[in-house]
Subunit: 337 residues, 2 copies
Amino acid sequence: MKKVGNQTYELESNVTIVCGVSLVGGKEGQGPLKAYFDFVEKDDKMGEKTFEKGERKMFFKTISSCIKKAGMKNQDIDLYVGGDLMNQLVSSNYTASELEIPFLGLYNACATMAESYIIGSVFLETNGMKNVVCATGSHFSTAERQYRYPLEFGNQRQSYAQWTVTGVGASVLSTTKSASVTVKRFAIGKVTDFGISDIANMGAAMAPSAMETLVAFFEDTKTTEKDYDLIATGDLGKLGSDILKDLMLKKGFDLESNYIDCGHMIYNIDQGTIQGGSGAGCSASVFNSYILKKLQLGEFRKVLLISTGALMSTTTNQQGDTIPCIAHLVEMEGKKC
Amino acid sequence: MKKVGNQTYELESNVTIVCGVSLVGGKEGQGPLKAYFDFVEKDDKMGEKTFEKGERKMFFKTISSCIKKAGMKNQDIDLYVGGDLMNQLVSSNYTASELEIPFLGLYNACATMAESYIIGSVFLETNGMKNVVCATGSHFSTAERQYRYPLEFGNQRQSYAQWTVTGVGASVLSTTKSASVTVKRFAIGKVTDFGISDIANMGAAMAPSAMETLVAFFEDTKTTEKDYDLIATGDLGKLGSDILKDLMLKKGFDLESNYIDCGHMIYNIDQGTIQGGSGAGCSASVFNSYILKKLQLGEFRKVLLISTGALMSTTTNQQGDTIPCIAHLVEMEGKKC
């Protein structure tokens, strides 16, 4: 691995994304990306008694399917790396207990998918490991009642609010199995805090973090937005991605033509999600469906995924703290068609 | 990096532990290890209004001092890797925001210190990074009121309960700065669940995990307990470490002469902590004081640190789930005297 500039690293091994699997809830399955998801689950409890137990089952189904799709068995996987939004990452912990694969738990809120690709790739880069499974996800009903209000309360939502995606995404990364999509470079984000303290206004809190990581990556690699077919942020939503576009323009980069936000594109405008999707499952499910498939088909060749995370808790919010945020960037490349 | 057996990896680069810093609260500072800690803080709010804000300040002080002790500045550190017990790792997040070092957040409960050494070492192994800071910690008052009862409630403690350590430990790992202690091998744990559901009985819940990782490491490396000067578990406490000794004996390994538990040794028997210490800060502060100093002095040469984590949350506990646990092992070596 080679350090490029200040925050960027270039992999020297051929780390492939063998395959990806995405699973979403019923609402996400009615959105514009419905044709791309592997599983749409209408029962968001997955037959369990609680949403939390249902979320766990979604993780297990997604990861198991992904390992199977890669033509592997659990014992072929050296490492399961990932996390989720539940306190103490319990969805991932219980899934790891079922899978019986060595596990490293990660938490960078909704930036965890990119974090897991970074750590998974680095373990593969050393040649000590052959196959790693990366996975994250989130669930509207478990996140909403943990971070904000009881579901039964039915509070009115702010005009700048987003909707936590019910969804899980998983990928098998490998240095031994060939595939058309590879991980090339990544940039590790710094935690930044721009003083937003309203936990419903996450797009505005996270946009400056996305800007900082993206600008650091462009400076480190001496590239611009024009060098990539697609630049995708994780879950800034409509408002947050508009802020990012403004901020980037001030830095001299124009995101008008090749930029999307996973949260902005996962729902239709008439689905009542206001600014769009959020949650660790947002970039995880959109990358492992729409983006990965288009990379595999050669429709995109060079893609930057910037997963964005708001790192607050209910305790910090109640104690009047502002929201620290982070964004990690991963560059993926498909084969030339 | 070379894979050895099923779960163990051997580093091929010379990853040194340049230095370690430990900070503890007043109670820990009255225990048998008081002479070894770098900082003993009598005010467990560190002059702040809340325990949570105090915990954050403890993290910042420990990590900043560690970077300074290594003869470095923040910009010399490529990566800050670690976590804590607070929901969403907020102590680490706010610290990362102050430090302005690229950050990857980890959570494996009280196994997070070993997890951070593993991930930090692997990033260094690729030669892309030169210096990494690893840190974890915990705080009695923040953990107790988040995981169990309000402090004001003053509940009676069970005979098998442990006491969350107020303490933080940090180390700078490097491939460019020479030091007498190096990271040699590590084993990544699997999540195991042996059916314990009482969240006060964590030693019993975690002991089988420690056993599984330790036995996997011995089998992978074809070594036994006799090949090491010290085998230290993180926070099994007196009861949990007795269970581990029994379990290991059944597997043919005798831990009677060279085994300690950081939780068992951090308090005196008359300090009212019942089975001893627990928490992510337990193995972090004891390793970065007593153990590291004895490695540096040549009193120990080969040491196995097995940090142990109980991966439950209040939600899983309230929903009747059992406690999944994990243990990660790191082998450190000091120079021959």
